[in-house]
Symmetry: C2
Subunit: 395 residues, 2 copies
């Protein structure tokens, strides 16, 4: 293969897209795939699509395809719901596996929804569980025999800082804690090997680096030797051993199937399938190398051209995911000025400009051009306008 | 208006579709709506679609449109997730509202996923709650001061039998129990007035009579005076008061917004929007009258032409939803023979043939033709073939 595969994506004329860490661009094939599932399958097959078009098997089939990108064996990943729901499923099962422990260990850099879902579960359980959120660098030392579950996001959504998955997973195993990895900013971004890590659960989303579209479903991995023993908290009918028997009582489906909940989002899954096609034959090691080359080039360019923007990500690319962030007190307005000129990144309060690097559709030309545009904005103070300072609802 | 609005739907040539109670047909406008959101919004706006295309506000906006069909005021319904998840949210909140009570009262005719989700919640809570499932006709008498929540589906998915919403809701209120209605087979099918019922929660799906497509999102209603006090068990970031502040701690959003969980399924919501367009200006009383006329015509036709098929639904149309079911020991093979001839209903074990009536796209011609085809199958024993007896995974 050769990167980038820009021609597989619909990138608007004049746009340099450095926000694939938030929402990936449209794979050209997804448009036709969506129209086909809408017109031919829903329209033409109607209810028969569940069998004839294989809708029912899609969550496992797509899960297997994602599994190949994260080192998970066939039959250990399933697609559905949102990442928040998948976090809840993993954590609820984890706590049930460790009835004598009361600590959920996360970190202060985790994505808020993971912490909110944990908080909600703790309150719902009402059994005195405690959610601890030390600084990311203090997590390793905080894993001890009181910890029921370690729940971490590998790559920090703000800075791109990357956790040491191997060391943390090993420490969790040693302490008898259940290990849950959130791969939201990892899947499709960096090399992931859930099997090698030995973790118990992994969850992630598909609308970032996997490019499956806004609101695309999430995924969950359960270690194969564990999957048949996990007790789902969210006992939906499609996780039942025989959903169409309509038994009054729940019997958990085989292995990972039990992590399915309700009716799968068939239309969104069509987009996901097309998005995964763009990954066929891609070597994640090559993606990682290309991502590092792009981000290092960006960081070097910024250092030279935009010295007022402070690198907020680890300087060592091995310690970050596939994004870099820069801090500036006027970060919001600067990002709006940048977006106004066709270079799309995003902003996270209080002062972070985020830039994601997706080698599938980005090359050195885009990186150099982005630096140039940003340098021009900084040099001429072009960000200092009321229109760029006015905050939108979603940033 | 005049019914039916057949021209708004894509019904394959030669097909008579009596399975809209399971999956509604494709509204013609949904195809273009999907393509537009994929190409123009996702493709053209990329991340900017959250603001520019109003993706973030869609769950509430679509919720308001559904609200108008079920007697819910603006700002009391929100769309997202699956019905299983919405059942869980409602029930978990309900149990938290009645900490001193331990009984969840449902019935043996409820759709299995509602019971499974309740069972899973009971086990997760581990506080000795009990799920009771008397026969549907015994529920009213079983509501007493020990019941924390009454969780019922208005229309039975097998027989179409309809609960007395007013009487049950009143009895629940009197007993101090939280009332949760599952409107899966009600929304778009019959007249619903959640406000008049006084119920606390209502949930439903949009892929049946609302025609929003396979895997379309669910909805939840919370009574307005209650919404600001409900504590969500599933504390997702999009139910937070200020999701984009990325606070480490959860603060519930205003009113119904707190029942949102994760990132909404933007692409599926586009189909839902187009599907709801087909309902604009429709009077639910007129729909109900037309549905009864169609089902009564069907029942009368069947009585005359197919005496071997026994009506398994209430004979009084006031006591059923918008479907009728007939029982026959060879029901499965009979339904396959029928589907093979373009008349699509479905089968539920052990012996039920189900037929749904959706006056938006069905008229008397379709009903008469369906009866004729079925009569021919029965008269000539056309169902008695190995191909029709072979069971598919999903029926």
């Amino acid at each position: 293969m050769s990167l980038p595969r820009r021609d597989l994506f619909e990138i608007p004329e004049g746009v340099i897209y450095l926000d694939g860490n938030s929402l990936g661009p449209l794979p050209k094939a997804a448009r036709a795939a969506m129209d086909r599932v809408v017109a031919e399958e829903w329209g033409g097959m109607l209810i028969r699509g569940w069998n004839a078009a294989g809708w029912m098997a899609q969550p496992a089939r797509l899960g297997d395809r994602i599994g190949r990108m994260i080192g998970a064996p066939a039959g250990s990943v399933v697609v559905g719901d949102t990442l928040s729901i998948k976090v809840y499923q993993a954590l609820a099962s984890a706590l049930e596996m460790r009835p004598d422990r009361r600590v959920i260990l996360s970190d202060s850099g985790n994505f808020p929804t993971d912490l909110y879902m944990a908080e909600g579960l703790v309150r719902t359980l009402g059994r005195g569980h405690e959610l601890r959120t030390p600084a990311p660098e203090d997590v390793l030392g905080a894993i001890d025999g009181t910890v029921a579950a370690v729940m971490l996001t590998e790559v920090d959504y703000r800075t791109g800082r990357r956790h040491d998955v191997a060391a943390l997973s090993a420490r969790a195993a040693e302490a008898g804690a259940v290990m849950i990895w959130d791969l939201a900013h990892s899947a499709g971004a960096i090399e992931v090997d859930v099997t090698a890590s030995g973790c118990d659960f992994a969850v992630g989303c598909t609308y970032k680096y996997l490019n499956a579209g806004p609101g695309a479903p999430a995924f969950i991995y359960v270690r194969p030797d564990l999957a048949g023993r996990v007790r789902p908290a969210l006992q939906g009918w499609l996780g039942h051993a025989a959903p169409f028997d309509f038994d009054p009582g729940y019997r958990a489906g085989a292995g990972i199937e039990r992590m399915r909940v309700g009716t799968p989002p068939v239309l969104q899954m069509a987009a996901l399938g097309a998005a995964l096609d763009a990954w066929e034959g891609v070597d994640m090691a090559e993606i990682r190398a290309a991502s590092i080359a792009l981000s290092e080039r960006f960081v070097a360019g910024m250092r030279a051209a935009c010295p007022d923007l402070r690198l907020a990500s680890p300087a060592d690319p091995a310690l970050r995911g596939s994004q870099v962030s820069f801090a500036h007190p006027e970060g919001y307005a600067i990002m709006q000025a940048l977006i106004g000129r066709g270079v799309i990144g995003d902003f996270r309060a209080p002062d972070l400009l985020r830039f994601g690097f997706a080698p599938l559709y980005l090359g050195t030309e885009e990186i150099d051009r982005a630096v140039d545009v940003l340098a021009g904005i900084m040099r001429d103070g072009l960000w200092d306008r009321p229109a760029y300072r006015a905050r939108a609802a979603v940033t």
